[in-house]
Symmetry: C2
Subunit: 336 residues, 2 copies
């Protein structure tokens, strides 16, 4: 029921994802009548879906704390509960991000003593894609939490990019000897010195290196991570605007742009946010994917694909194992 | 002597700026022989310059703390001292950022009980330019420091954009009810409720709004600010790469790109980092501008222009006045 359009986007999106992954099955949770109205024109999806009716749904502007208190029985709640009960492998929602995060944390519970689940984003790079986390689930992070993010992100990279030891970088600023990043420095030392981690630790990376695809996973606390993600989106839109303006400045530019439209099409596809739609909540006993609220069916399908790939790879089991091993080594070190 | 090229870039850069501002005078501090060798082919600049010789200079990789301890008598030190002594209005350097910051803080001293001078960057937007600070002088900031940044940035905006009450936004993340941004929330309350401030407070802005030119000044603590700046630079390079790749994919695209080269030229100029070269250290008893180390003469000239505009507008005097007034109101409120 979530997102700007509800079933009218969700269901065609699910249908696209089903074409790509015919083994998918769907549990559609929400207003039965609205769902059936759209589902009637997607017969393949209809035969692979069950509908779970509820009248209640979380509004896009509900506060997360309210949503958690009063949300029981809502479509979002029931969809997350389906994952908890083992009826579903993944929950995908285009709804209220904060509410989804809070509810997923409450219902699915964090794995392996993780204090703070994180939101991971797929970030397009000149090579392919990288995973950046945390992009806004929390503000600030301790050294241990940053290391947790590294392991969670690596689990996601393993599932999506099919590399056994993903490369991981820690986002930092370049100015030397600035004070106050003790957490980042401590995390750096742990990741560097801990040979047992199932990652290939690269070291520090700076903001301008994210888009270069230098590493599979980039770790940062959520305030700076959210600002980085939004700034990159804004810069992309800004340059697209510059480009449009520049191309209509003269008749030559206009004709040239027309002739080069195949090239511009490739550029648009490269920059299409729908290709990598979906933030993933990592660190929970279950997979929850958040699609952009304003996306279209193609974008929603990307979010479903993302959930499918992670579930198929056994992401939660692997990340739980890695985090448990890391925490016990860390505790042993502290105790000794 | 600083930057990747020293006098070979600095002096032609100063010559370009002199053409634009014939009333400029220069004190060139460094190795006399190297300076004279380049200056000989710039007769206009030569007649407007004095050379102050020194053998010592700060290397690009010297640690700031070392530079401060051992830097006395270096070209950087003497250039900053010229501002302190009133011999110069502005110091411009392409050298070691951390060393320049530390030395400028030590020699010029912060104004009006400012605890943390900040580095401000000019950020190109779809409208024109905005000022973003802090982009890396400090990590973290208290609510009072964020308000100081707002006033410093507003002073710079007044000098450069010629608006009496610049609009100011506070960079924040969009996720609701996230914890730990108490400083940002407190600064927001103070900026919103304090009618006496010489600014037009806009409220929170998010990372994707920076490039939209929504406000004249964007305030953020230095870790997230540095990451935002670097991420925007990286994203611009990444898209330029996409564009180049897309335009050589077919013969039509190549011909089209050739015809549209006027348009592409405008785009390149819009995105040219040399146009807005120069980070400014704000909150000191004097103006210090840091040019990118790897810039060319045109870029260095932009940094000199920046310093010229700020000195001409009486930036330091105005910012000192605004900060003193704000601090005394804040203290009165705390005392009452």
């Amino acid at each position: 029921m979530g997102g700007d359009h509800g079933p009218e986007v969700i269901i065609p999106g699910a249908a696209i994802s089903l074409e790509r992954h015919p083994q998918l099955k769907f549990q559609l949770v929400g207003d039965q009548k609205r769902i059936e109205a759209v589902l009637s024109s997607h017969s393949d999806l209809r035969s692979k879906s069950i509908i779970t009716h509820t009248d209640i749904h979380i509004a896009m502007d509900d506060k997360p704390s309210q949503a958690v208190r009063r949300g029981k029985g809502s479509s979002m709640w029931m969809a997350i509960e389906a994952v908890k009960n083992g009826d579903a492998d993944v929950v995908v929602s285009a709804g209220n991000t904060g509410a989804l995060m809070a509810m997923a944390k409450l219902i699915l519970r964090p794995v392996a003593d993780v204090e703070r689940p994180a939101i991971a984003a797929l970030w397009p790079t000149v090579r392919s894609e990288s995973i950046v986390l945390d992009v806004g689930a929390n503000i600030g992070a301790t050294a241990e939490q940053l290391c947790d993010y590294a392991l969670m992100g690596a689990g996601m990279a393993r599932a999506l990019f099919h590399v056994e030891r993903p490369t991981v970088g820690l986002l930092n600023v370049g100015v030397e000897e600035v004070k106050g990043v003790d957490e980042v420095k401590q995390a750096h030392a742990w990741l560097r010195d801990n040979d047992n981690l199932p990652i290939n630790y690269y070291g520090f990376v700076e903001g301008d290196q994210i888009g270069q695809g230098l590493v599979d996973v980039i770790v940062v606390e959520g305030f700076a991570g959210n600002i980085a993600l939004k700034t990159a989106e804004g810069t992309a839109r800004q340059i697209a605007q510059y480009l449009r303006d520049a191309m209509i400045r003269s008749i030559f530019s206009k004709i040239g742009a027309l002739m080069a439209q195949g090239g511009f099409k490739i550029l648009r596809e490269k920059m299409d946010p729908r290709r990598v739609n979906g933030g993933t909540f990592l660190g929970l006993n279950g997979i929850a994917v958040k699609s952009h609220g304003g996306t279209d069916p193609l974008g929603f399908a990307s979010a479903v694909d993302l959930g499918y790939d992670m579930a198929e790879a056994g992401l939660v089991q692997r990340v739980t194992m890695d985090l448990t091993a890391f925490h016990s080594r860390l505790n042993a070190r502290v105790a000794s």
